[in-house]
Amino acid sequence: MTYRRPEKSSTQILEKIRESLDRLNEKMDVFIEIQKHNPRGGLDQTIPDVLDVMTLLSLPDHLRKTAVSLCKLGQATAEEVAEQTKRARAVESGYLNQLMLMGYVKKERKGRKAYFYVEKEEKE
């Protein structure tokens, strides 16, 4: 059986499937984190708060490290945060999503990538 290079349209379909899988993965990370920290389930922990230094002090160590890195980077993907913290991308993705659920960070999708940020930079 000889291998045939997929047509352009097939490549596009594969790309779309990959994007969907990536999104699905991230959603799974969020659910896993919710289950870990709120075993009764529910998305009722969405009270927005401010990520100031006093909040940073009150966070558990693993989330503080992620939050400080994001504060330094301004806006970053889970991979960029992972580069700073020297932890796995999937771990950071979980922590960032948890911080988002806690109302401390926001997420925005640009193409296939998900960017996290504390606050959008204002044009001054």
């Binding site: 230094v53 006093m54 400080v68 504060c71 606050e119 001054e124």
Partner: protein, 258 residues
């Protein structure tokens, strides 16, 4: 890349300003580009030390987001450079500005943290500064914790006063450890009688190691002539052979290799 060094203490009056000004002067003398920031917005003091005209912008305005950081910098290289570059950023000392800064909300403090963190890019990367030195306010308050989080190295100035020792111990566990900063202790204003013999010095260091879990960078004796000068002289510039300057030289080298 350059370093951000923050001077902090539990109590006021430990000598943060004196040490930060002299450390900046030593780095400038070594040909480095250095910038000194007054981040003690409740009791600003560097405007009095340098007695310059009001800057184009105060650091207050930079943190408010109404002014670019470069417009806050005063170039003091001619007066204090001694071969290097010496800049200063000042806190507005007027009562109105102090009142304004103490009434900021949490969202403002969060933005201020972001602006302090971005100095690494704007001053160390873009302006190629070797050292950015923060003189902070004492204790656990927003402006000083923001400065600590933004710094690479934190120098905790402390004394042998019991309340200062207890407070510094608490801050070590509840602040510095949590942010995983390179932190060192500077024991200041130690009576010279306690440092006359080698065994006395050894005993003091042993005592300090039992008190503090952080490394003791240096023990600085109390010098009457510094007290007499009342902040009008920068010893590192005017008295290069003074033992205080020599001690600061050692501290500067330790920070370079920290």
């Amino acid at each position: 890349m350059g370093k951000i060094v923050a001077f902090h203490s539990y109590k006021g009056g430990t000598g943060k300003t004196l040490l930060s000004v002299n450390l900046a002067a030593i780095y400038a003398k070594r040909g480095k580009s250095v910038c000194l920031f007054d981040l003690d917005f409740r009791a600003p003091s560097l405007h009095a030390t340098f007695a310059t005209d009001a800057p184009e912008c105060w650091l207050n305005e930079y943190l408010n987001g109404t002014c670019d950081i470069k417009r806050t910098l005063i170039d003091l290289s001619q007066q204090h450079g001694n071969g290097g570059k010496f800049y200063a950023g000042l806190a507005n000392p007027t009562t109105e500005a102090i009142r304004d800064m103490s009434a900021k909300d949490r969202k403002w403090e969060m933005r201020a943290l972001g602006r302090l963190l971005s100095l690494k890019n704007s001053l160390l990367n873009d302006m190629h500064l070797d050292y950015l030195i923060f003189d902070t306010s004492p204790g656990l308050q927003y402006s000083s914790i923001n400065a600590i989080v933004s710094a690479d190295v934190v120098l905790v100035v402390t004394s042998l006063d019991t309340s200062d020792i207890k407070g510094t111990q608490r801050m070590t566990h509840e602040l510095y450890d949590l942010f995983e900063k390179k932190t060192g202790i500077l024991l200041n204003k130690v009576l010279t009688e306690a440092l006359t013999t080698e065994s006395q010095k050894r005993n003091l260091y042993e005592r300090l190691h039992n008190i503090h879990t952080l490394p003791i960078l240096e023990v600085i004796p109390c010098f009457c002539d510094i007290l007499r000068a009342g902040g009008t002289q920068i010893f590192a510039e005017e008295k290069p052979d003074h033992p205080f300057t020599k001690t600061l030289e050692k501290i500067a080298t330790k920070i370079e290799n920290f």
